[in-house]
């Protein structure tokens, strides 16, 4: 099922026009495959179906790479704006501040949110194990998302708000959770 889904997706994305039925069929089959894996063998089944999906896609890619004609297309000229052009200031202070905001401060904000989620899960009767694991799993995920959001934001004020809001909300929840 997973292999057929990948083949359908390849066909759908290879067309010049958009075929909703083909796309829907491909995604639907993929979803069905994952559900079947989950129903049959739980998380292990989902993992195995996912591996089969990715391996099928890799096989399609190998064929695409093998049959690709020699070409010299014009490559993308999109700039990443990582280093300044000649004459432009380096902006070292700005870069260092961005690093501090996205690495240590964003970690603190994510941890505060993660701990707040622990309070919420425990308070809603989710159990101690679920509550602790929620913090352990969600903190790195929240941190990754926060890093991207911070880096996509041009205004410093908005960035500070993005950091301050979870810290404040998390802090309040943690305090409430600690209070007997």
């Amino acid at each position: 099922m997973a292999v057929v889904a990948v083949l359908l997706l390849r066909r759908a994305w290879g067309r010049a026009d958009r075929s909703l039925s083909l796309l829907g069929g491909a995604w639907g089959l993929m979803l069905l495959g994952l559900i079947a894996g989950g129903v049959g063998h739980g998380a292990w089944g989902v993992a195995m179906v996912s591996l089969a999906l990715m391996l099928s896609a890799f096989a399609c890619l190998a064929v695409a790479g093998w049959t690709a004609p020699p070409d010299k297309a014009r490559p993308s000229q999109r700039r990443a704006h990582m280093l300044p052009d000649e004459g432009e200031p380096l902006g070292l202070g700005r870069r260092v501040l961005t690093f501090i905001m996205t690495v240590p401060l964003a970690l603190i904000a994510s941890l505060a949110l993660g701990l707040a989620i622990r309070v919420l899960v425990a308070a809603s009767g989710g159990g101690e194990a679920n509550a602790n694991v929620a913090t352990l799993f969600l903190t790195p995920l929240l941190w990754s998302i926060l890093i991207v959001l911070l880096l996509l934001t041009a205004r410093r004020r908005t960035q500070w708000l993005m950091l301050g809001a979870p810290m404040l909300a998390g802090g309040l929840f943690i305090f409430a959770g600690m209070t007997p």
Partner: protein, 461 residues
């Protein structure tokens, strides 16, 4: 993101991100990739190789006795022999018995001060010698830095990989639409970008799974500390007790030799469908000792289930990793999902393939950025050669450690060899005249090293 925040263009969805957001996402993607590039590559490459940790141990010490199974009395004999060999020394705090499993069919006992392989009859055969496998594992876990700092740093790299995956998807509006388009023979820069983007999109579930689980495992030092400080009066053990089960209270008064064979017989009688992976003796030969069994469940993502016994082999408790709270099962699944040891060799091979793809993505990411600058007239040959030195020098340094291990033995200075040779390759790179020949020479060295390592292994057999 535009000044007002994340905006969607006409049509919505990923394709609908406005131009400013896409531009900022590309900047973010490049910033994270360039900041962490070399370390990311090192962690991805070592992770790929260490997928075969069990197999490397077998290659490293081919003469160690192997067995499909071992009798309970034989394990007891081995435990008795190892404990007797440490008489007069400070008592070990833990004694681990690695039981034979399909990918590592060996019985090995490890204490605080030694590790030995057992024969099938339980007698001690020889010391365990897997310095290279452990060197590789620790390089992946901690980059050979002090353990806490190193694990957190590697976990941060995991977080960065997830951030790279998210920003990469936002930065490339056609990434899904072009998912099967691979202009592999294009030499003008498109080919490299296609490889980077296609491998990226098709390894997305794998990358997110292994990066998140890796980050979770490493960051647990910080999140666990946060949980302990906020809710458990600083007691870290109390954070993990509801998940993995708690440890018994220590009592250092002298105790009898624990009856490990009774524990194994109990498990064989009551849980025949579960295979014992590990036996851990906590505080052996003390009054507070207890025996912990880890059993492997076929066709499950969890690494196993823990059963606790007293020293006489009576069951005390079960942790509930296989059938307890959802959080327990999820936490127990994170390890296998990260290491790829939940489906035998086929899953390991798939993990190695995807790991190689992830390593290639980290390598090509920086190369794409350098090539773009070159096309804009900003040629940086030294930086390009330094990056080539990282990309090809790292596996060369790794294969060199493997050869040194073969030639010198288990006590070979592997950490010094690896970092010394990598540093030397990096230091030489700016002074090399021809960048292409330099990269080619490193590739030849790598090929020759792999061939020499394979011949050394055959000779050892």
């Amino acid at each position: 993101m535009s000044r007002e925040g994340l905006r969607f263009g006409k049509g919505g969805g990923l394709k609908g991100f406005d131009k400013a957001t896409v531009r900022e996402a590309l900047s973010a993607h490049a910033a994270i990739g360039l900041l962490a590039g070399a370390l990311l590559y090192l962690v991805c490459l070592t992770g790929t190789i260490v997928v075969f940790y069990a197999e490397w141990q077998r290659i490293e010490q081919p003469a160690a006795p192997e067995m499909a199974d071992i009798a309970p009395q034989a394990v007891q004999r081995g435990v008795d022999a190892v404990l007797a060999s440490e008489k007069g020394k400070p008592l070990t705090t833990h004694l681990f018995v690695h039981m034979p499993v399909p990918d590592l069919p060996r019985t090995t006992i490890t204490t605080d001060s030694q590790a030995v392989h057992l024969r099938a009859d339980g007698s001690i055969a020889m010391p365990e010698e897997n310095a290279w496998s452990d060197f590789l594992l620790i390089l992946h876990y901690t980059l050979h830095l002090p353990s806490t700092f190193g694990m957190v740093l590697v976990a941060i790299l995991g977080v960065m990989i997830v951030a790279l995956a998210i920003s990469g998807v936002v930065a490339h509006p056609r990434i899904f639409r072009d998912a099967f388009r691979l202009r592999a023979r294009d030499t003008g820069g498109v080919g490299l970008a296609d490889w980077h983007n296609r491998l990226g999109v098709w390894t997305l579930p794998f990358v997110i799974a292994i990066a998140m689980t890796g980050a979770m495992i490493g960051l647990a030092l910080i999140t666990g500390y946060g949980l302990a400080t906020s809710f458990y009066k600083g007691d870290m053990e109390a954070v993990y007790a509801p998940i993995f089960g708690g440890e018994g209270k220590p009592d250092k008064a002298r105790g009898p030799t624990p009856d490990v064979s009774a524990v194994i017989r109990y498990m064989q009688a009551h849980h025949p469908g579960e295979r014992i992976g590990y036996i851990t003796l906590h505080d052996p030969l003390t009054a507070g000792q207890h025996v912990q069994i880890m059993t492997i469940h076929p066709n499950r993502l969890i690494f196993g289930e823990y059963y606790m016994f007293d020293a006489r082999g009576r069951l005390e408790s079960k942790a509930g990793l296989s059938d307890g709270a959802m959080g327990q099962q999820a936490a127990a699944s994170a390890y296998n999902l990260h290491f790829g040891n939940y489906g035998g060799l086929p899953v390991k091979v798939a993990y190695a393939l995807f790991g190689l793809a992830l390593s290639a993505m980290t390598a090509t990411g920086v190369s794409i950025w350098l090539a773009k600058r070159r096309r804009r007239g900003i040629d940086q040959p030294r930086l390009t050669r330094a990056w080539d030195a990282v990309v090809w020098g790292t596996p060369v340094a790794l294969i060199l450690t493997f050869l040194v291990r073969q030639w010198v033995g288990n006590g070979a200075p592997l950490i010094a060899t690896f970092w010394g040779s990598l540093a030397a390759i990096l230091l030489v790179s700016p002074f090399v005249g021809d960048g292409r020949r330099f990269a080619r020479a490193l590739q030849w060295l790598l090929g020759a090293g792999v061939a020499a390592g394979a011949m050394g292994f055959v000779a050892a057999l």
